[in-house]
């Protein structure tokens, strides 16, 4: 589904990603862990097409297509979803209007008929139940005045609405309370199937109890320096990152 080859990227003239290689197949869950500032969010943003980041080398194919040939909105409509580490607020734009536009843009792209207002609201009700998001929230402006946890929940709600092929969840677990973590994880699990894939960026093994990864990668200084099964997460939880740095001879 996603093939990243020798990817380099910089921001503000500074090299952040320094040769990423990663292959994600349909049906898989990958977890990416790594110290603060190692480039996890940068990778997510580069994949999603943020123009702040300049790709200087490497290729990424997504479902057989060259990802860098597509603008950010096309990538989204091709099925790439990013749950933001820091979702932005858009004052005055209602969640309902925002999502209705988003859903219908996806449908248009795939030559489907736009949803009627009634059908859209029905779909929204269904998905709201899935992540147990408060109706009050969806009646407000996009993320405006949402608490940290509410913003994260709202990201997963949008994911449920858009049903992406590849979801990249950037620290969706941070800021969620214990119940919310369970609910959100359940939501993600319900959305999982053999045709889609998930990349989880997280600092904590706890999330991986709920959403069990097939692979765990350690991103360090812009490179994936270690990949293993889910047991790696326990090891990191226990020992931190120093031993990996040592392994790298630092």
């Amino acid at each position: 589904m996603l093939v990243i080859k020798d990817l380099y990227a910089k921001v503000e003239g500074k090299d952040i990603l320094k040769g990423i290689n990663l292959t994600v197949n349909a049906g898989e869950v990958h977890a990416i862990m790594g110290p603060n500032g190692s480039g996890k969010s940068t990778l997510a943003n580069v994949l999603a097409g943020h123009t702040n980041f300049e790709v200087t080398h490497g290729t990424v194919t997504f479902n057989g297509k060259d990802l860098f040939e597509m603008s950010a909105d096309v990538r989204a409509k091709e099925g790439l979803f990013l749950s933001f580490q820091y979702p932005v607020e858009i004052p005055g734009v209602s969640m309902v209007n925002f999502l209705k536009t988003a859903v219908n843009e996806h449908r248009k792209y795939h030559n489907q008929k736009e949803l009627s207002a009634g059908d859209f609201l029905k779909l929204m009700r269904e998905k709201k139940a899935m992540v147990q998001i408060d109706s009050q929230l969806t009646n407000r402006s996009v993320n405006e005045g949402f608490s940290g946890g509410e913003k994260k929940k709202n990201e997963i709600f949008q994911m449920a609405m858009l049903e992406p092929k590849l979801a990249i969840l950037d620290e969706t677990d941070s800021g969620l309370d214990i119940d919310a973590l369970r609910i959100v994880s359940n939501g993600v699990n319900m959305l999982k199937n053999k045709d889609n894939a998930t990349i989880l960026v997280t600092h904590y093994q706890r999330l991986l109890d709920y959403i069990v990864p097939d692979f765990v990668h350690v991103l360090y200084e812009g490179r994936i320096v270690k990949s293993a099964g889910k047991e790696l997460a326990f090891e990191l939880e226990e020992k931190g990152y120093d031993w990996i740095k040592k392994e790298l001879g630092e």
Binding site: G49, A72, D73, G92, E114
Partner: protein, 481 residues
């Protein structure tokens, strides 16, 4: 979006249904300005003596005045001897078919959902069919007449209601108020007149759309709205279609008078031709709009969405004379490319316990310049006056400019005046967030800008609000790459 398009179509279809009158006699044309020209204008309109005197007084005063230079605008020299001050409102065809019209303009029409026949009208293509609107017009007029409401062209009002004109003309905007108001007073062509009798609620939004014969009132329009005691009216001015007009200079005057407990809501969508991407052409719009809350507990609301004109110089204002009177100014002014706008309001508190609110939302893109200029003055006797002003500027890109010039004069200690101002840039991260959900950059900007202007747009009557939203989006197309 689908619903919106449908609504827009409905709105514009209706507009179309009422149609335009093309069969208007042509008349002698005189170039330049002098007393003789003014006498001719007045004579052609068959005006009573007092009108001629008003015009001449204004003209003589205008000669002694200077074009105002305080605005944050670069205004080219205007040669008044090159302007034709009297041309009957003809609809002369400039083109044989739509094929000759600027394709850019046609694209905009299409996006706004303007029907084909009307596209032709607006861009000056010859139209054969005049849509039959007589019956609709009649029902409409009957409904109003039953309630004693007068809604007609200014010229008709001068003929049939000279007493009202004589009493109220110049009450809000005196003939010598400012350079452009004086010019307008001297040479104004036509406009609308509204009188709402005591205790009457006007049952429909009054719109220039309905004013069949006065559709093309030209560059010096004059509107007078009088709301008698305990009455209410909502008036809509403008059109979202980008009107092509060969007249570069527009200097309109709008006067509103609200008597005891009367309420007038005046909504404008202004979309005159802004000039092309390189700043060539476009309308110079110098408007004087003022309302007087003359009666106790009266209320005047100015709501406006301004996206057009190369130069906008406009300060819809209120004089809160009656005790307990209330005034509001809600404005969205958008400038793109090389447009310049210096706009705002004046709130003059004279009565006790008067209250005014100002919400101004500027949006600047391209290489445009967008200034808010607002005066809040509280007279010494205006005890317990309240004003709240909120002036926000939104910048798209870094080649445009936004400026805020608030002037506050408070003459007593029991009054409270609050002013808040913010300037923000449209966030790349907001656009990216929308992109990430499958929304194109163009749509995202439209959405974010509309969200920013929501507070003001919500004040507009429903059908206008929908049009205004679409208009904001279209006006920004191509402004962020």
């Amino acid at each position: 979006m689908e619903d919106q398009n449908k609504l827009i179509n409905e709105v514009t279809q209706r507009d179309y249904r009422f149609g335009f009158v093309t069969d208007i006699e042509t008349d002698t044309i005189v170039k330049g300005l002098n007393e003789e020209v003014i006498r001719i204008i007045s004579a052609k309109k068959d005006e009573p003596e007092f009108m001629l005197e008003f015009r001449l007084k204004a003209y003589r005063r205008w000669l002694t005045m200077k074009m105002p230079e305080w605005a944050h605008l670069k205004i080219p020299v205007i040669d008044y001897q090159e302007i034709i001050f009297y041309a009957a409102p003809t609809q002369q065809a400039k083109y044989e078919s739509l094929n000759e019209v600027d394709p850019e303009l046609l694209r905009t029409f299409e996006k706004l959902g303007i029907p084909l026949e009307e596209q032709k009208m607006l861009s000056g293509v010859a139209v054969d069919a005049v849509i039959d609107s007589v019956s609709v017009k009649t029902t409409f007029k009957e409904t109003l007449a039953e309630r004693g409401i007068i809604f007609c062209s200014f010229s008709e009002a001068v003929k049939h209601h000279p007493d009202l004109i004589q009493k109220y003309l110049g009450m809000s905007v005196p003939y010598n108020d400012n350079y452009f108001a004086a010019l307008n007073s001297a040479v104004f062509s036509d406009g609308s007149f509204v009188y709402i009798p005591k205790g009457t609620r006007c049952p429909m939004e009054l719109s220039t759309y309905f004013r069949i014969n006065a559709q093309n009132t030209g560059q010096f329009e004059r509107t007078l709205i009088i709301a008698d005691d305990d009455s209410y009216v909502s008036y809509l001015e403008g059109c979202t279609a980008p009107m092509r007009d060969e007249n570069q200079l527009h200097a309109a005057v709008v006067e509103i008078i609200a008597l005891d407990r009367a309420e007038v809501k005046y909504s404008t969508v202004q979309n005159w031709y802004p000039g092309d991407k390189n700043g060539k052409g476009g309308i110079f719009n110098f408007v004087t709009k003022r309302g007087v809350c003359k009666g106790v507990s009266s209320k005047i609301l100015w709501n406006q969405v301004e996206t057009g004109s190369a130069i906008t110089w406009k300060y819809p204002s209120c004089i809160l004379a009656g005790d307990n009177s209330v005034a509001e100014f809600n404005s969205v002014a958008l400038t793109n490319n090389f447009q310049q706008a210096d706009t705002g309001t004046k709130m003059i508190h004279i009565g006790k316990n008067t209250k005014s609110t100002i919400v101004s939302k500027g949006i600047s893109a391209g290489r445009s310049s967008n200034s808010y200029r607002g005066l809040v003055r509280v007279a010494p006797k205006a005890e317990n006056a309240r004003n709240f002003s909120q002036c926000d500027s939104l910048l798209l890109g870094d080649t445009c400019g936004a400026h805020t010039f608030p002037y506050i004069e408070v003459g007593n200690s029991s009054s409270v005046v609050e002013h808040e101002a913010t300037t923000s840039k449209i966030g790349e991260d907001q656009i990216f967030y929308c992109n990430q959900r499958g929304i194109s950059t163009e749509d995202a900007i439209g959405m974010i800008v509309n969200g920013y202007a929501r507070e003001v747009i919500n004040k507009l009557p429903m059908e206008f609000a929908v049009e205004a939203q679409k208009l904001l989006q279209i006006s920004l197309e191509g402004s962020v790459g």
